[in-house]
Symmetry: C2
Subunit: 107 residues, 2 copies
């Protein structure tokens, strides 16, 4: 099992919309998260910064993320959530969520 942490900013004028959407994430989006091997997925917010944490139970993370990106429901969902977000400085071009490095873990 691998752990993944990522960070992105919220556009201030879109914060309430992002929160509203996440109070009722679509069942098909949740199903695709499961299907892509993502477990124990949490998103936190403070001062306009989102941090996400999840555990990956599969064996091809890149392929599972590609399957998610190809899923019609997920694509519709991202069409609503992407405009709420803006990358942190230094994020790769075209990337919203920027990966963080794990520097400590204890079970």
């Amino acid at each position: 099992m691998q752990r993944f942490g990522s960070v992105v900013r919220l556009r201030p004028e879109m914060e309430q919309e992002y929160l509203r959407l996440h109070r009722a994430v679509w069942p098909d989006v949740l199903r695709q998260i499961q299907a892509s091997g993502i477990r124990n997925y949490t998103i936190f917010l403070r001062d306009g910064v989102l941090f996400s944490y999840y555990e990956y139970a599969g064996d091809d993370h890149e392929a599972d993320l590609a399957a998610m990106a190809a899923d019609p429901a997920t694509r519709d969902w991202w069409r609503l959530t992407d405009p709420c977000q803006q990358p942190v400085e230094g994020a790769a071009p075209g990337q919203l969520w920027a990966p963080m490095a794990e520097v400590f873990h204890t079970d």
Copy 2:
């Protein structure tokens, strides 16, 4: 079980020292983390920002954190790690790690 996310900054000149310390966290510090009901504890870093995630298995989080703060090994450890960190803007006075709000979770 409750999940906790927190954020703090690293002082740029202390980042390497923080990483060095966390490559070999003292066994007594890890033991106190366990004793205080903290599980699945991970710290991530990107661009001088630390994000921590853990799950709390006990039933009095405040008392368990106080026990940690009173533990001699943990106090010695924090004497080394605290000077590596600086609070984010808006953190409570005297607070290093600032709590984040959970805005989404799926198992």
